[in-house]
Amino acid sequence: MLFNTLDFLIFLPIVLGIIAIFHYRKFQHIFLIFASLFFLYYTDNYLVTLLIFTILLHFYIGRAIFNANSLRRKKSLFVVGLAGSLGLLGFFKYSDFSITQFNILGNIFDLGSEISLLNLALPIGISFYTFQSLSYIIDIYRGSLTPTKSLKEYALFVAFFPPLVAGPILRASHFLPQLKEKLEKSNGSERLKLFIIKNADLKFGISLMAIGFFKKMFFADNISPLVNNIFSNPIGMESFSIILGAIAFGVQIYCDFSGYSDIAIGAAAILGFKIPLNFNKPFFATSPSDYWTRWHISLSTWVRDYLYYPLVFKHRRSSIMVFSCLLASMLVMGLWHGASWNFIIWGGLHGIFLAVFTVLRKKYGKSTESFFKTKFGKIFSIVVTQYLIFFTFIAFRIQNFDHMWYAMQKYILLDFNTSQTIEIIKNNEFPILLLILFTILHYISYKKGNLPELISKLKLRYWILFLFCIVLPISLFYVGSAQEFIYFQF
């Protein structure tokens, strides 16, 4: 099910209503699991069986790893678990990509006939729930997590519908205790903790969801035509047009993806679950390092904890090895986004920027410290960082190599022409206005801090006004049909 559809806006209140009415604890829990599976089934039909298989596989493997009495047995079970889910992910997501590369190599070496593509449908959310499930068995294998004894608890952790199809990627150590607290019968005079929908949670959750819908449907969807105008065929475009396109795409994907995360976190909040932030003002990042603590936080921490650290652990004495592991991790992160070379290039660029920045800071960090502490220094570092970040968005957006290469060259080697750019601005007034409006609102949000929390604390009539200000622009400028979230394709 897509979040930005009437179907979801009907689904959510029904689910909340049923939970609110039927206070019987065990029913609420099972109901939520089935509601989540239905949520996936609605768009993906029979592919929901993959989710069910992943849940069962990791639950039982996790238990078996924990109970195994030899390291060898633990390791074999762990490998089975990894192979099972990565195999599934690899098969559904990367087989056609692998076949294509093989065919290309085959052509180069004149191997004969090509292997035909499988054209498999990409199961929605598989990249997300696979990584989420993997973190569970890896944590158990490392000894830092005790597996849950309840399949129902584990099933809800993986299938929970708000973050199911596009994150944030949850950690069992963070989510399961919350679930346990809700489900466990307390002895004595303590109240049973149920899925009680509290007023405070409801208001906060709705505020956050409203902001998410606003970002996605008002900003992202209406900026998208400008991005398409520039990047559908960028060859021949001026530098400033390319830069404008990169900025517009950056804002589009931020609004699209962080909007989705907001809706997911908000919906979970209504049900009383705390899900960590996935974005933290990435456009104010002062360095590539800082950027990755602010963009798609649940993925970057996953890559750090389960890819980077294990890779670099044994090789940390050698700087070259450390940087190689960093680059490898970022390439994999790129590949995770899609079975396509442009995503790998995107990851590679980020890896290079991170490595170069780390070296530069080590060499010149002390001597430039006082400069970067000044206001001008801070703005300078933000501008330079964002220039690099938006450059990488070109790779993220454009799959055609010729187009990508052209756009990248134009982004760096400025031609200083303006006539075409001015023409584009004139023909895309509304998206341009939205970019300006977004910049203003985003800056205010950056300065004020936790905007959703502040909004949820407004007096009722002002809060209703806020909701009105959200719904009105969305409906006035509605594009006509539910535009898919960009991250659904991952």
């Binding site: 944590d139 490392r142 000894g143 830092s144 390092s289 603590t293 750090r304 904890d305 980077y308 650290y309 294990p310 670099v312 652990f313 940390r316 004495r317 450390v322 960093l326 780390t358 800071r361 960090g365 002390k366």
Partner: protein, 77 residues
């Protein structure tokens, strides 16, 4: 012993020792990224002659967590 830990942190992250406390974290110390985190692990392992496991390395959110892991290696801070 706490001062020894803080000394190492101050050296690795290149900050004044007075800015460090048990609640210090990658959020409060700008230089504390995964790269410097590795340098920190190295420095601690060499100083106290211990070896951290990967689960310990990935389970550090604050300086207090580092103390907890050191304690598990019988290093009282």
């Amino acid at each position: 012993m706490t001062s020894k830990l803080y000394e190492i942190l101050s050296q690795v992250f290149d900050i004044d020792i007075s800015l460090i406390n048990d609640q210090s974290s990658p959020e409060t110390i700008e230089n504390w990224d995964s790269f410097h985190g590795l340098a920190l692990i190295d420095a601690l392992e060499m100083e106290f002659n211990i070896q951290f496991s990967i689960s310990e390395i990935t389970d550090v959110k604050t300086v207090a967590d580092i103390k907890k892991h050191l304690k598990n290696h019988s290093i009282e801070i």
